[in-house]
């Protein structure tokens, strides 16, 4: 019976990518599109079955971008359910200190506030600014937010449901010292949208 103990523990961790090389490449290209064309909605992570509340798209991003070089901060609910999954599949160190994290995953948007807790990089090394993966209720093309900036031909509008009242104002303040800032990837189930620090977001 003791022989079953080790496999049983592993069996509790749902699988990662079926094909790590090609899944990661394909998802990266979607993320690259998302980051270089802010507000573009991408579909990722459909094949995965991560431990709730870690969402499909968030999990796919973790598998694609995170490893032993990237300390990760998880909010309470994600940490409780998915710490083992993230450690096992990404080999990434988890940190309790927000400012040390290269990536952070939040089960819901209110948990990311205040944004100033995260690393915004420096004027000399702005790339140290963190990438925050924030799970929201829903993301829709066309809506109440108007996006402008690099990667956007004119303006693009989206709707994000599940954001705290003053989120966009806090984000603008947090990123007011460009090139310092945090980059956001918002996810909802299998969709995601990126909002890098260069994007101006205006609630309409």
């Amino acid at each position: 019976m003791t022989r079953l103990a080790a496999p049983a523990t592993r069996r509790e961790i749902p699988p990662g990518f079926a094909d790590p090389v090609f899944d990661a490449q394909s998802i990266f290209r979607h993320v690259l599109t998302a980051m270089s064309e802010p507000g573009t909605i991408i579909h990722i992570g459909g094949e995965l079955d991560p431990p709730s509340p870690l969402g499909h798209a968030s999990a796919a991003l973790a598998l694609t971008l995170m490893d032993f070089e990237t300390p990760i901060w998880l909010d309470g609910p994600v940490a409780a359910a998915a710490s083992d999954w993230v450690r096992f599949h990404c080999g990434a160190p988890l940190t309790q200190t927000e400012s040390e994290a290269t990536f952070a995953i939040m089960s819901e948007a209110p948990n990311c506030l205040p944004l100033t807790r995260f690393n915004r990089g420096t004027d000399e090394y702005p790339e140290h600014g963190a990438t925050l993966i924030i799970q929201v209720v829903a993301i829709e093309a066309e809506g109440t937010l108007s996006l402008t900036g690099p990667g956007i031909d004119g303006s693009r509008s989206i709707d994000v449901i599940g954001m705290p009242q003053d989120f966009w104002e806090q984000r603008a303040q947090t990123n007011s010292l460009f090139p310092r800032g945090v980059d956001l990837i918002l996810t909802a189930a299998e969709v995601a949208v990126a909002i890098p620090r260069t994007t101006f977001v205006e609630p309409m």
């Binding site: 090609f22 980051m35 270089s36 064309e37 490893d67 000399e124 790339e127």
Partner: protein, 313 residues
Amino acid sequence: MNEQTIPASGTPASGKTGYNFAYLDEQTKRMIRRTILKAVSIPGYQVPFGSREMPLPYGWGTGGIQVTASVIGPDDTLKVIDQGADDTTNAVSIRRFFARTAGVATTDETGEATVIQTRHRIPEEPLKHGQILVYQVPIPEPLRWLEPRESETRKMHALQEYGVMYVRLYEDISKYGHISTAYDYPVIVNSRYLMRPSPIPKFDNPKMDNNPALQLFGAGREKRIYAVPPYTSVKSLDFKDYPFEIQKWEEDCALCGAENSFLDEIIIDDQGGRMFVCSDSDYCQKRREAGYRGKDPSAPRGNELLDDAAESA
């Protein structure tokens, strides 16, 4: 659930060739991919990365190759150009490298490519939304000749202190009556970062501005990646009284008659005969296929002559 369905993270694809897919191991690709995303989110800023040894010498575009290798997938169609031509030794080697290590389709046609790796030109045919242009960069730092210390140039970028570059260009004007820089002409990206566009002719600079394609720059020896997202402002440095100007030619392309294309001067015989032809071989070919003719349409293309010369040297 069967335990064997849990793949170990980062398992390399052992293709039929025994290489990792696109040569690089998964951890390296992940690191470069993270670097590319930060480069995109800070347009024009050079992000340091852990450049890997590649099976080609520096100067063969190892930075561009690492970027392409981290981006490319089995559904991509790759075009590689060197000085505008698809058929030079360098371009052929890189194309073959990716055909072998990634099994991707390759093309000479700008419009067919999803990823274009380039050394020293931007294609004449306008790039499209969804395409990725990867530049091979020898020296990424625009301020390097003015300030050799990395710690100082980093500060200058941080403070947006680019006065020395304007002074350098203005010295040109007082010496020659115009700005003599014809290649690698400095630009400002998104009204913020001074950027070196790699040694493209300044003729190509206006194509970078507000381009619908994503532009990625890889410098292997200097370990830097930078980017210009689509629809991003890229302005060539100039002065009110000396506005930026691109190269112009008295002649049209001798083969296809193009009036607005970047021309190479080609020596066609040992009597000193010469002619001007499009540097972009695919563009020239497409025009000739469409029936356009220059004044000497039957002459061989310059690159064929140059390659012959290189092989006999």
